[in-house]
């Protein structure tokens, strides 16, 4: 039976980082991105969990869980949503090999509900718009990552 990876976890984002490496040509076509993304997953059981993914050029430089909220690097943007919302998005991506029209990151964040994107200042939030296609492609890697949620 195929191994399922827990979301959220550093392992899960590492899997996406491996998918990214395998698709370097596609990321080269989209263009390089240098930014730090924090994924925040909220659930009644586990509270807020934060994962930092640092992108450099065409790959992921590092992945880690941020345990101390004060430990977030100065330059970043945060995408935050409930575990349920993340699950729905990931499963939609898995089902269609990419999101349908109503499950892209921009679609989910634009109305500030059910996802929100925020940075310490507007320019850093704007980085999410600037690299949006590449970030979407990164999450589309979930197509190949069987996932369980907690």
């Amino acid at each position: 039976m195929e191994q399922r990876i827990l979301f959220p976890s550093s392992d899960w984002f590492q899997k996406l980082a491996i998918c990214m490496l395998a698709q370097e040509d596609e990321y080269r076509r989209l263009g390089p991105m240098d930014c730090t993304m924090v994924v925040r997953v909220s659930s009644p059981e586990n509270g807020d969990r934060n994962f930092e993914i640092v992108f450099r050029a065409f790959s992921v430089d590092s992945v880690r869980e941020i345990n101390d909220p004060g430990d977030v690097p100065p330059e970043h943007f945060i995408i935050e949503a409930s575990l349920q919302t993340w699950q729905e998005m990931i499963e939609n991506i898995r089902e269609h090999c990419g999101p349908d029209l109503k499950h892209t990151l921009n679609f989910l964040t634009f109305p500030n509900d059910p996802m929100r994107v925020n940075g310490p200042d507007q320019l850093q939030t704007d980085a999410f718009y600037r690299y949006n296609r590449s970030i979407q492609q990164f999450f589309n890697g979930a197509t190949d990552v069987p996932t369980i949620y907690n």
Binding site: P32, S59, L101, Q122, Y129, R130, R133
Partner: protein
């Protein structure tokens, strides 16, 4: 009588000299300070910021007075004629610390409307939706290229020492060409066509093109105008009825965010060095705010978006409510970007921060 002009005769004499083995070769040692430059490539490849460091990274506060197109850092021989073109010679007027990296980002993140949009996925839409998409695209095709014309108007006036900015603006012109072209294509590609132009938009375009100098034009266009358009593109992706519009708006959104990023950093650079110019900036921004507010009242601008936001003509009122949210977001992000640039306009904003549509409709 000589067969050729004196210039050609001198050239021929020089060739005869070289044929006899008499070469000059002084150019080989003309720039000792600039020779032996070391470069380290970035992960993404060779960037402008990788090569323009040290000796070559020194950007003069005042562009060189020789007035030529000689690349910054080379030796310019005495007597080289000035082109007498450059009126923007102060770094503060145009500089942004991110210009070089935005240029590199822009050249790699180029796309095209011929093959990158999945046009084969266009499908017949209900008449009201197709008309709304076509009207929105008519408006965008009208407004997009001001962000090409404005940099083009100033580009040949910018001192050649500021090549980072000139190159970035050149990418912006290409980006805007693509935006104009892709919205025109979308309007014409699905059995509809272009609809009504917008006199209201022309007012804003005029304010950008007639701004007294580059710095104010840039504040008005890069931060105010393109910031509003950036939100509009995000909204376009959100409302997209098919994969085609989804792709178009998603790609345009990325380009627009680069233009806004330049504008914010440029204004920051300017105001840190010339804080006395803040009032000029407020004045031009007020002009823009007034123009954009009157735009929201124009039926050909607001109604198609409301139809798309509501999901059809039958739900246009719901769409108007959703549009009020978008307006609020546009104003909020605009004020936040100004804050990054060092301007607090919260108390001087000449338009409401939100449109209480539900209240107005009641």
């Amino acid at each position: 009588m000589a067969k050729y002009t004196p210039t050609v005769e001198v050239g021929l004499d020089r060739m005869r000299d070289m044929a006899r083995g008499n070469f000059d070769l002084s150019w080989m040692d003309s720039n000792p300070e600039g020779w032996g430059h070391k470069v380290q490539r970035s992960q993404a490849g060779l960037k402008l910021t990788d090569v323009d460091h040290g000796f070559y990274g020194q950007v003069p506060a005042q562009g060189s007075s020789h007035g030529t197109m000689a690349p910054r850092g080379c030796y310019v021989p005495e007597g080289t004629i000035s082109l007498d073109q450059y009126t923007i010679n102060e770094m503060t007027e145009i500089w942004a610390d991110n210009a070089a990296s935005l240029y590199d980002e822009a050249v790699v993140r180029q796309w095209n409307s011929v093959t990158d949009v999945p046009w084969e996925k266009l499908k017949t839409l209900p008449d009201d939706m197709e008309k709304a998409v076509c009207q929105m695209c008519t408006g965008l095709a009208e407004v997009e290229f001001v962000a090409g014309d404005m940099p083009a108007k100033w580009l040949c006036r910018i001192n050649h020492d500021f090549h980072e900015v000139k190159l970035f603006l050149a990418t912006q012109i290409m980006d805007e060409a693509r935006h104009l072209d892709v919205f025109r294509k979308r309007a014409l590609a699905n059995g509809g066509g272009l609809l009504m132009a917008s006199p209201g938009q022309e007012e804003l375009l005029a304010a950008i093109l007639n701004a007294p100098d580059y710095a104010t034009a840039s504040a008005l266009m890069h931060i105010f105008g393109e910031g509003f358009v950036l939100t509009l593109f995000r909204q376009g992706e959100y409302l997209a009825p098919t994969e085609v519009e989804k792709t178009i708006f998603g790609l345009c959104m990325q380009d627009e965010a680069r233009h806004v990023a330049y504008g914010v950093k440029h204004l920051k650079f300017l105001l840190e060095r010339q804080p006395e110019r803040e009032e000029e900036i407020h004045a031009i921004l007020e002009k823009g705010e007034q123009a954009i507010f009157s735009l929201t009242l124009e039926p050909q601008t607001s109604e198609p978006r409301a139809i798309l936001a509501g999901g059809g003509l039958a739900n246009i009122e719901l769409g108007m409510m959703r549009m009020a949210f978008i307006y609020q977001k546009q104003v909020h992000e605009y004020l936040q970007r100004l804050k990054v640039a060092g301007i607090d306009r919260t108390n001087r904003l000449s338009i409401p921060t939100e449109i209480p549509y539900a209240e107005i409709a009641a």
